[in-house]
Amino acid sequence: MSYDFDWSVIGISLPFLWQGMKFTLLLLLWSLVGGIVWGTCLALMRLSSVRWLSLLASVYVDVFRSIPLVLAIFWFYFLVPLIIQAFTGRASPIGPYYSAFVAYVMFEAAYFCEVIRAGIQSVRSGQINAAVALGMTYGQTMRYVVLPQAFRNMLPLFLTKSIIIFQDTSLVYVISLNDFLGVASKIGQRDSRLVELYLFAGAVYFVISFAASQLVNRHLIQKRT
C-alpha cells in the first residue's frame, strides 16, 4: 500500500466532527417530526372524499417521489428565501440551514404519506364504523381511534425509515452545510487528509446505522413473540 496513514488528524478534529454530528441529528429529528406531521396531513388529504383535495395530495406525493432528494434540496435552497420575501416584503438572509430543514420535511413527507396511508387503511373498517356509531366526529374518529392504531402498526416502518433518513442527511453536502459529512470533508480538504476523514466518516455512519437497525430488528422480534 502506497498511502501513509496519519490518524492523528481524527483526534484533533473530534470536537468539529461532533458539531457536525449534532447538526446531522438535529436535521434527522426535524425531518422525522415535520415529515410525519405533514405526511399525516397528506395521507388524510389523499384518503379524503373531497375530490380536489385528494388529487392535490396525490400529485404532490407523485412529484416528490419521482425527483432525487438532491434536486429537492436545490429547489428549496432558492425557493425558501423567495417565499419569505414574498410574505415579508424584504429580502431576509435566513441562511441555507432553514432551506435544508424545509426541503427534508417536504420531501420525506411524501414518503411518510404513503406509509401512513397504508397504516390508516390497515385499521379495520369496523373500528371506524363503531366510532361513528358512538357519535364521534371525523376528527375524533381519526384522533382517538384510527391514528393511534395506525401509528402503532407503522412504528417498525418509521424506525427503518429514520435510519434511511439518517443516511440521507449527508446529501446536504450539495449546499455546503456543516453536517457530519460536510465537516469531515472540509477538515479533510484543509489538512489534505481526505482518505482518513472519509474512512472515519464511513465507519461512523456504518456503526450507527448498523447498531440502530439491529436494535430495531431485535425490538420487532421481541414484540412478535
Partner: protein, 247 residues
Amino acid sequence: MNYNWNWGIFWEPTITGEGRYIDWLLSGLGWTIAISLSSWIIALSIGTVLGVIRTLPGRSVRMATGAYVELFRNIPLLVQLFLWYYVVPQLLPLDWQFWLNGLDPRVMQVGSVVLCLGLFTSARICEQVRAGIEAQPGGQKNAALALGLTLRQTYQYALLPMAFRIIIPPLTSEFLNVFKNSAVALTIGLLELTGQTRQISEFSAQIFETFLAATSIYFLVTYLVSVAMRLLERSMRVPGFVGGARS
C-alpha cells in the same frame, strides 16, 4: 414578486457559446440515463448471484453475503461515492495510480459513480431476489429436485424465473432509485441532469424554468418506467398465479 418568465431560454445559445441550453439539459439527461443503465446492469448481475447464494445451504457463504449486504446498506451513498472516488485510488499501488491519473478525468468520474451505484444497489437487489426465492413454497424446489433437475437447473428453470416475476414491482422501484440516486454524481463534478440543471440556472438566471423542466423530465421518465414495468409484469404473468403470489 416580479420574475421574468422566459421559456424561450432553452433555445438561446449558452453563455459559453457551446450549443444551446437545451443541449446542456439533454446531455445531462443522457448522462443520467447512461449512468443508471450501466449501474443497473452491475447491480442486477451481482445482486442476483448474491441473492441466490443467500438461499443456499452453507453457513459461511451465507454469512459472507449477509456481511456484504449490511456493509453496503449502512453507509450513506454519498460517503460510498467519496470512498470510491477519493479514497480507493489513493490506496492502490503507485503505478496503478499513475495509470489512472493519465486517463481522461471523466473516466474516473463515470467509473466511480457506476461502480458505486452498482454495488450500492446490488445489496438491495440481493435481498429482493432472496425474498422472491423464499416467497415460493418449499414444494417448488423439492418438486424440481424430484424431477431429477440438478440444484443449478432447479434455480435456473424453476426458482429464479418465478422469483423475478414476483419481484418485478420492488425491482421497478429499485431501478427508479438508481435513476434518482445518480444525481449524487454531481458532487464529483459529473454534470448529469441535476448538475446541468443547476449550472443552467446559474448561467441563465432563469431558475424556475430550468428546475421545472428538470422536475418534469424526472417525473416523465419515472412515469414511463412504471407504466412499462406494469405492462411487462402483466405480459410475464403465469396463468394460475395471481399477481405474482399463489392463488
